[in-house]
């Protein structure tokens, strides 16, 4: 059978500054098919979508190689507008809705139906034509009906339940008369379970009308429910394409994670199972936008390296930020048997915790200040070190600061012109080392490190990770490392807690199976294994 594909992407390659992020990826979607696209963060899903939509970020970085065709015809998409013209639509994860507008106005955003008036005729300017609200409402109604949504088109979007906003987004795409391919980017992430069910029903209905649907998600049960075919990416490569009938959740989970890095540094202390608990977290909730923590229980053992992993947006980042009191936090945290004061960064730092933030440039550094100032300032504020006291007045101890900075630069091998260089001018890896140096200056018992290798090159990555292991080995410092890169967690951690939907899905040894990691990250582990256990 010779069926034309609604969308076909063939042998797609893409480099960012010499870094290959897509290697020969193929993707084929038939009309009327729901095709799931799976992969961890950084697997290349969003780059692939950026290529499909002709986003400027692709063209400003040297374009891509490979072929994109629709309905069997080769096409070139140079801008998002062109993608729209060709009939490719996207339902965004964050809503592109104007709250003060009615549903109809939102559906017709910048595609308003216009009618003539004498003045617009006189000036021959379309921008002076009146809006034809009646027609706009009618079109909107039609799109909403297609989705089977019973909601009035003249209601304002502000105050609508989130689920409805999602439908308004979809209705807008349907209303673009020629839509052939519709991309859903994690559409269920913000929905309740019942809303998600309704959404999937609507997706199926749309597919029946002949639209090809590309469904990006990490919820494997939804994939099994909705998709006809599944494509899995990992590290920019096409791992597998499966028909739904021929696969199962377990296999998908395994394919997603894969084994990439051998466990290297962890030949040590297998026997230390019954260490004492240094931090005990009970029912932790952190209100960090985009990384909410919803009731985590976790014990951190003294002297271990604990990895915290999980997909982006699941809440793993929120844990360390919550402990440090940077976002509103509730729950019970005990540090060495003592209650830790929540939402009070100062007292937490005083107790002996130190934090290296995931947002290096935003939170981690004073970019325009010198390396030495960056290294000492927290210790100066918390421990009053590097200060000379004169009664109630104080002056900074210049000599002490320089000496300490120089020794840190040596110890951590920070490549710089000297302790007075502004941190803005350092490379990512060296900036990260400055952040670590500041944390070490506090002489902490527990070091919390978030995404220590994000945005730094491979050589520097290894140095940073080795440094953490060294600190743990030599000083017995407890290290909690949060990272999106499972491979790096598995290479240095003693235990790895996987966070899904704001909760601990489970704790694994680094050498546990790929399938277990995959299932946990997708939040399916307890559903599946839990049943087996009973």
């Amino acid at each position: 059978m010779l069926q034309k594909y609604a969308l076909e992407m063939k042998n797609i390659d893409k480099e960012y500054f010499g870094n290959k992020v897509l290697k020969g990826v193929d993707l084929k979607v038939k009309p009327g098919e729901i095709h799931a696209l799976l992969g961890e963060n950084g697997a290349g899903k969003s780059t692939l979508m950026n290529i499909l939509f002709g986003m400027p970020v692709i063209h400003s970085t040297g374009g891509f190689s490979g072929e994109v065709s629709m309905d069997g015809k080769k096409i070139e998409i140079k801008s998002p507008d062109e993608a729209m013209e060709k009939g490719i639509g996207m339902v965004h994860q964050e809503f592109m809705l104007v709250p003060g507008f009615t549903i109809a106005e939102n559906i017709k955003l910048n595609r308003e139906v216009l009618k003539y008036n004498p003045i617009s005729n006189a000036f021959k300017k379309d921008s002076l034509r009146f809006l034809d609200y009646k027609k706009m409402n009618k079109d909107a109604r039609k799109a909403l009906d297609t989705l089977g949504i019973d909601i009035d088109e003249w209601v304002k979007v502000a105050g609508l339940p989130v689920g409805y906003m999602q439908f308004v987004e979809i209705a807008r795409e349907i209303d673009k008369s020629n839509v052939k391919v519709l991309v859903f980017d994690e559409p269920t992430a913000v929905l309740t379970e019942s809303e998600a069910k309704t959404l999937i029903k609507a997706m199926k209905k749309l597919a029946q009308s002949g639209i090809a649907i590309l469904f990006i998600t990490h919820r494997l049960d939804e994939v099994m429910d909705a998709a006809d075919n599944i494509t899995i990416l990992r590290d920019g490569e096409l791992v597998a394409t499966r028909k739904k009938e021929e696969t199962n959740v377990l296999e998908i989970a395994e394919l997603m994670v894969g084994r990439k890095v051998e466990v290297t540094n962890k030949a040590k202390k297998e026997e230390q199972e019954s260490q004492e608990t240094i931090i005990s977290i009970k029912n932790l909730n952190v209100d960090m936008p985009g990384e909410e923590v919803k009731g985590i229980n976790l014990d951190i053992k003294k002297g271990e390296i604990l990895g915290i992993g999980g997909l982006a947006g699941q809440g793993k980042i929120g844990i360390a930020n919550g402990l440090m009191g940077l976002y509103k936090t509730t729950g019970d945290i005990e540090f060495k048997g003592e209650k830790l004061k929540l939402n009070d960064t100062r007292s937490v730092l005083n107790k002996g915790l130190a934090f290296v933030s995931e947002d290096r440039k935003g939170v981690g550094l004073l970019l325009d200040s010198s390396i030495q100032q960056n290294i000492v300032i927290t210790a100066m504020q918390i421990k009053e070190s590097f200060l000379k006291k004169y009664g109630i007045f104080s002056q900074l101890d210049k000599k002490g600061i320089v000496n300490h900075a120089v020794s840190m630069i040596k110890k951590l091998d920070i490549r710089c012109t000297g302790p007075l260089q502004a941190t803005r001018r350092l490379s990512g890896g060296n900036q990260q080392k400055v952040c670590i140096a500041r944390a070490l200056t506090l002489e902490p018992e527990v070091l919390l490190v978030s995404e220590p290798t994000r945005g730094i090159d491979i050589g520097a990555k290894k140095l940073v990770l080795d440094l953490l292991v060294q600190l743990n080995d030599e000083l017995g410092m407890t290290v909690v490392i949060t990272s999106s890169e499972l491979a790096e967690l598995r290479s240095i951690s003693d235990r790895i807690a996987i966070i899904a939907e704001g909760k601990v899905e489970g704790i694994l040894k680094p050498d546990a199976s790929d399938a277990d990691f995959g299932l946990m990250m997708a939040g399916e582990y307890n559903k599946l294994r839990g049943k087996e256990a009973i």
Binding site: P80, D81, M96, L97, V98, P99, G100, F101, E105, L109, N110, E112, L114, S120, D126, S127, L128, R129, F130, L131, I149, D150, I151, D152, W154, V155, G159, L160, P161, G163, Y164, T192, S194, E195, T198, P289
Partner: protein, 436 residues
């Protein structure tokens, strides 16, 4: 559907949300000014006749300038402090036209024709500047006004006479360089009162007309609402509007036809309103209403609500913003023409300086905010703000024995209202950001 109930709850909530306390808090500034105005009118002991006459003049004279502020607010650029620059465009044209000695209404029209392109150019430049200072538009437009004032003074103090040869002893200072401090617009058939005098209408005829207009509006909206699924609150609102119109109409007819009036009313009924100017203001109101209904207006609104969403959906945000400021600047220029033809003297280096402050204070007093401004708020604001302006020196004289205090007091209020409104708006914004 799972969430239909939820949605209905939301809508129900909206209907119930009208309560007195919220209303008072949201309209605090306006209510405070109403009280101040009433107290001021009472304590000033000024004759009613005088007050009504002054208010009438100032309403027609200042409304246009205040209405020029609405479009940038719609486009999310806040209050346009650079309307001063539009006023400068108008004054440049007036000086040119005075020099050429084009007289009467033709002079006025020529001024208008000249003002538009100059103001368009200025507006365009200001718009580009504000695109470079997104998020700080208001302070930037304010400083831009000061900056332009420097250039303006340079033009008329130095360039005119030194570089641009103008030989006109009426306009130019005795040493041949620079324009005089004041330019008399009434001399030689200047443009003084040309617009005001086109058509004068006895005030109570105007009252009757206004009453009719309000009733027509109320009925029209009721008709519209009855067709769509309107809420009870909005229906009640239009019924109230119609009744208010009816009362005004009745009052106008009674005063107009009765012979047994009190002395005050009799004197007031002799007053005449400049209907020509009034019509121009009305036309601008209409323009503001209509532009919102166009594609351009929809773009203003979209950009105003979210620059990000607008640009994602393909709207050229920067261009829309430049257009908004340009329109505002042109309108301000025309507004300043109307203002000056009524005043009758151009204070070359002073007439434009305070107009942004007073216009913005007025619209804020009317209940507008940085993100929302309507025609009604603009007109109410002009009424209240200028009533206070008229009565405060006299009231202070009566109360404290010093008219100066009243003048200081009104400046304090003008700046204070702006400061407080902007502060409250910023505070609400931070609260919202914190909740996120």
């Amino acid at each position: 559907m799972a969430d239909v109930n939820n949605l209905e709850a939301v809508q129900e909530n909206k209907e119930k949300s009208f309560d007195i306390k919220d209303f008072l808090i949201n309209n605090m500034v306006t209510i405070l000014f109403m009280i101040l105005c009433i107290a001021g009118v009472y304590f000033s002991k000024l004759p009613m006749f005088f007050i009504v006459n002054e208010i009438m003049t100032r309403l027609t004279r200042n409304s246009f300038l205040v209405l020029a502020l609405i479009i940038p607010v719609l486009a999310g650029m806040g209050l346009n402090f650079s309307i001063t620059i539009g006023a400068m465009a108008a004054q440049i044209s007036i000086i040119a036209v005075t020099h050429w000695q084009v007289q009467g209404i033709w002079g006025f029209l020529l001024c208008a024709v000249l003002t538009v392109p100059i103001a368009m150019l200025f507006g365009n430049l200001v718009g580009r500047l504000l695109n470079k200072t997104k998020g700080q538009e208001m302070i930037a437009s304010m400083i831009a006004g000061f900056f332009a004032n420097g250039l303006y003074q340079f033009l008329f103090l130095f360039l005119v006479g030194k570089i641009i040869p103008v030989n006109n002893p009426v306009l130019i200072l005795d040493n041949g360089v620079g324009v005089r401090n004041t330019v008399d617009l009434s001399r030689n058939n200047g443009i003084k009162y040309v617009l005001d005098n086109i058509w004068k209408v006895p005030i109570f005829h105007f009252v009757i007309f206004t009453g009719l207009l309000i009733i027509a509006y109320g009925l029209y909206r009721m008709y519209r609402e009855s067709k769509s699924k309107a809420t009870k609150v909005s229906k009640a609102k239009y019924i109230i509007i119609s009744i208010v119109g009816l009362v005004i109409l009745a009052f106008g007819i009674v005063v107009n036809s009765s012979n047994e009036l009190s002395q005050t009313l009799k004197m007031i009924s002799n007053l005449k309103l400049s209907a020509g100017t009034g019509l121009v203001v009305l036309a601008l109101c209409l323009f503001n209403v209509l532009i919102v209904k166009t594609k351009l207006g929809q773009d203003f609104r979209t950009v105003g609500q979210s620059k990000h969403i607008a640009s994602v959906s393909g709207i050229n945000v920067n261009k829309v913003r430049v257009i908004a400021i340009t329109i505002s600047t042109v309108l301000a220029g025309l507004g300043q023409l109307i203002f000056l033809q009524n005043i009758g003297t151009l204070n070359t280096y002073g007439s434009h300086v305070q107009i942004a402050t007073f216009a913005i204070a007025a619209i804020l007093v009317g209940g507008a905010s940085v993100s929302k401004a309507t025609i009604g708020q603009a007109l109410l604001g002009v009424l209240l703000f200028h009533t206070l302006f008229i009565v405060s020196p006299k009231a202070a004289k009566e109360l404290f024995g010093d008219a100066q205090i009243g003048e200081f007091f009104r400046s304090f209020l003008a700046y204070g209202v702006i400061g407080v409104s902007l502060g409250l708006h910023a505070w609400k914004k931070t609260l919202k950001a914190m909740r996120k």
